[in-house]
Symmetry: C2
Subunit: 200 residues, 2 copies
């Protein structure tokens, strides 16, 4: 089976992975571009999970203003070296995440930040909503509602507003950058001000 | 006594006050430009204190990045109308205050924001430092140290970094804008991120 140079280039452009690895993935996927993309993504995840324990103390502080100053976002994303912080890929991530925060108004970066009392309170509410359901499904429903709460309120669990398929979460676009740039990348913190929401 | 048109223009440029009022102030100050400036400033303060009770819910959210993203500031300043928020004067205030925050790292906007426990703790420390002094001066010294603490940590009490004479406080430049723009103006809140200061 022959792998077309056009497909290799296409895959390279979509993933940022080197030509040789793109060709390998296409061969393994028997020339199927979609499958090859999935293979590289899985590989990316594997690389990313290896990097995830490494310390990230460099990076960037960036900002984004929406509607001429009605909404503003301040964001810190960390990586391992100043070199990576200066790449266009890292800057693109900063911009995408900051715009996403402006649009989606998350309350936390990750679910680990949420105070346990808040989660207990949520669980109580869900439990009172489903108390008439059979006992064996209640836990599953509560679990599902809690996941929904996380994906509403936690930045990394939110679906990326710019993803045309509305499938990619913010954590997925971070993982893609980790795989592409070869360094651990962590969204550290953000602030989001909407004009007039906090009255003096 | 004749007032020169040059002095009137100079005063107008420095204060933004109309020509007629500049001429009046110069006449009152018997042609002394410095005295006329003081007169107009006092008048500005008087206007400002009249405006200070009016509700300010319009304004801008702005940002400032220092050293290519090593420090970032997000800032909300409120005024009464969107019209004033769009003036160059208001934008200048936003920029000046945001830059000042990046440079001076205040912890609070005003002293009223500081938790009473923090102030009590500070007072205890000062008291232990001056316990050998005569009783009649201890209160004065503590008061003075507390003022120093406010001017170190509270944005509006800090000396504006860009003031060449290092006299104007942030609250003074706000009062000047209130007098000039004729609306109440309030620094609502800020966030300041310095790269790597909060470790994940």
């Amino acid at each position: 089976m022959s792998i077309s140079a056009k497909d290799v280039m296409e895959l390279k452009n979509q993933t940022g992975v080197g030509m040789m690895n793109c060709k390998k993935a296409l061969t393994e996927a028997e020339g199927d571009l979609g499958k090859a993309l999935d293979l590289l993504r899985q590989k990316g995840m594997a690389i990313a999970s290896k990097k995830a324990s490494r310390e990230a103390s460099e990076g960037l502080v960036g900002s984004y203003l929406h509607m001429g100053g009605k909404i503003g976002v301040l964001l810190e994303i960390n990586c391992e070296t100043d070199f990576v912080a200066k790449t266009d890929d890292f800057k693109e991530l900063m911009k995408d995440v900051a715009m996403h925060i402006a649009a989606s108004n998350p309350l936390y970066v990750t679910r680990e930040e949420i105070a346990s009392e808040v989660i207990e309170k949520e669980k109580e509410i869900y439990a009172s909503q489903v108390k008439d359901k059979p006992a064996n499904v209640i836990d599953k429903i509560i679990e599902g509602k809690l996941e929904k709460f996380y994906s509403d309120s936690c930045l990394v669990d939110q679906v990326f507003v710019k993803d045309p398929d509305q499938k990619q979460k913010i954590k997925d676009i971070v993982v893609e950058k980790i795989a592409k740039l070869g360094e651990n990348i962590v969204i550290n913190r953000f602030a989001r001000f909407q004009l007039g929401e906090k009255n003096n």
